[in-house]
């Protein structure tokens, strides 16, 4: 049930650090999922708890039997910030940009960080509804957000 919104341009300029899976394989399914435009969240097979980022055991019941389930990719803004001061060389001339912390109600309200696409000066309110947008790079796909 993924929402099929894909952006062909990067929200932030080229040269920003891109994700790479952990050598121990813990988060490989998550990054494999984003490449296939699926937003996967870890869920305990024993007690049903969700957790993000992934862990080797369930934080609620300590079971090692964990699965990956797909979220609809629809969420709510839990917190946000507008960044003005660049701390990375790729951002030097970028101007302000928006970072949102999005809560996913269909995945135990786990939260994910991303950018809110569109005008960086737009008004953002906690509680605003958003949906996932896939930002494809050569070998990795980022999770971005737009208003609905």
């Amino acid at each position: 049930m993924s929402v099929e919104h894909v952006t062909t341009v990067s929200y932030l300029p080229e040269g920003m650090p891109l994700p790479a899976p952990m050598p121990d394989g813990l988060d490989a399914p998550f990054w494999e999922g984003t490449k296939q435009h699926k937003l996967l969240v870890q869920r305990c097979k024993t007690c049903g708890s969700f957790q993000f980022g992934p862990e080797w055991i369930c934080h609620k019941c300590r079971s090692g039997e964990l699965s990956w389930v797909e979220s609809s990719g629809r969420g709510k803004v839990y917190a946000f910030e507008r960044v003005w001061h660049p701390v990375h060389k790729a951002l030097k001339e970028r101007g302000p940009y928006l970072i949102v912390l999005v809560e996913l109600p269909d995945a135990g309200n786990v939260r994910m960080v991303g950018n809110l696409l569109g005008d960086p000066q737009q008004d953002v309110k906690i509680g605003d509804s958003v949906e996932v947008v896939w930002e494809d790079h050569t070998d990795v796909t980022l999770v971005q957000w737009q208003r609905i």
Binding site: Y11, M16, L18, G53, H88
Partner: protein, 389 residues
């Protein structure tokens, strides 16, 4: 529980600091700065370097005790300890660990120290330069969430939303620190007062933090020496007693990608009750507070979580000069702290707490008997001290 308390068993007997420099401007190395601060603390206590037998620090201080002890000619190391966790969460933790060693009898005179020369080793407030990032940071860094200001603005925004607190509260905290720095010749911002207007006119770093909501970045070193109450009585300075020390972190704080179940917190909720319980006092007994400011938003939350005011009262508590010496209800960060004295990663706040209890602060609170030192906010673990005279 009473059997385990350190209450009144340990005293801070010496304090020392180098001159504080703007970031990158120290004429000497970080290691030399550490040596200078420790020797000054020893002299302040009326001890000899040979008396020092333990070292404690935090935040991965680069000046390890073996090398310090060799350079100082310390006869033997009986205790060495590094408090885990980044940021300023270990300031009071290092002092508390030193106190624990003294109470346990592991060592007699333990120095807690921090040295920083960011010109030599690079700055805190810069992003990751690599092309790839793994682990928890992979969930935030590619989106431009990479500096401490960016990590903490998000929490602050949520806290202000939950409790309907305006920018005025943050402004009030910054104004108090800058006002106090104008009395303190050690302060980097001595002679550079801040007005409400210049606060609001300063550029945004990341909303809701203006430039003046953010700590400085400096070069320098600071040190304190702890020993038993019995030994402290024979030394040069009026002893400053530890009523309580606490360190720790709440449930799943700093889990990946900002998924802490209790998010809008400075992370003192579990510590503060233990701290006041150990001391046997209440927040009302605190006469003066030194509260670590990585960013003003963390101070706001820390004041609430230590019970110094409620979240509903917080905006009034932080404004109208209430945090300012000499007339405010609770003078805060009376040396100027990390915002305006110097960023010695918060250890300068412990030194200022000791001065308040000795009666020697440049913003001396009249008849002050109890000082809170809260270190961390919004990191994990965080740590606290209660000092008395």
């Amino acid at each position: 529980m009473t059997d385990y308390t350190i209450k009144d068993k340990v005293a801070i007997v010496g304090i020392g600091e180098t001159r504080y420099y703007k970031a990158g401007q120290s004429p000497v190395s970080e290691f030399q700065l550490a040596l200078e601060a420790i020797q000054k603390a020893v002299a302040d206590a009326g001890l000899q370097v040979e008396d020092i037998d333990g070292f404690a620090s935090y935040s991965d201080d680069r000046n390890d005790p073996v090398r310090l002890a060799a350079a100082l000619g310390v006869p033997q190391i009986q205790f060495s300890n590094m408090h885990w966790g980044g940021g300023g969460g270990g300031v009071a933790g290092a002092v508390g660990n030193a106190a624990a060693a003294v109470v346990a009898g592991y060592a007699k005179h333990v120095v807690a120290f921090r040295a920083l020369a960011q010109g030599q080793f690079g700055r805190f407030g810069q992003g990751h330069a690599g092309a790839r990032v793994r682990g928890p940071m992979a969930y935030s860094m590619p989106y431009g969430l990479m500096s401490p200001a960016q990590m903490f603005a998000m929490r602050t925004q949520r806290f202000m939303y939950e409790h309907n607190i305006s920018q005025e509260a943050l402004c009030g905290i910054a104004l108090a620190s800058y006002k106090h720095a104008q009395q303190n010749p050690r302060a980097i911002m001595y002679g550079r007062p801040l007005t409400r207007e210049s606060y609001y006119n300063s550029r945004w770093i990341v909303e809701p933090f203006h430039l003046f909501d953010c700590c400085l970045e400096n070069d320098g070193a600071a040190a304190v020496i702890l020993t038993t109450t019995e030994r402290a009585r024979d030394l040069k300075q009026k002893p400053v007693y530890l009523m309580a020390a606490a360190q720790g972190s709440g449930y799943r704080q700093w889990t990946a990608a900002h998924n802490d179940p209790d998010y809008a917190t400075s992370n003192f909720k579990t510590l503060a009750p233990r701290l006041f319980g150990m001391a046997g006092i209440t927040p009302k007994d605190v006469d003066v507070a030194q509260v670590y400011e990585n960013f003003t938003g963390g101070v706001l939350m820390s004041l609430v979580e230590h019970g110094l005011c409620s979240a509903e009262e917080a905006e009034a508590f932080c404004t109208n000069g209430n945090l300012e010496w000499p007339n405010g209800g609770l003078p805060l960060n009376t040396s100027g702290g990390n915002l305006a004295e110097a960023y010695m990663h918060g250890l300068e706040l412990v030194l200022e707490g000791v001065r308040q209890m000795r009666g020697t602060s440049t913003c001396q609170v009249k008849d002050a008997q109890v000082c809170l030192v809260a270190a961390g906010p919004m990191v994990a673990p965080v740590s606290d001290l209660l000092l008395r005279n």
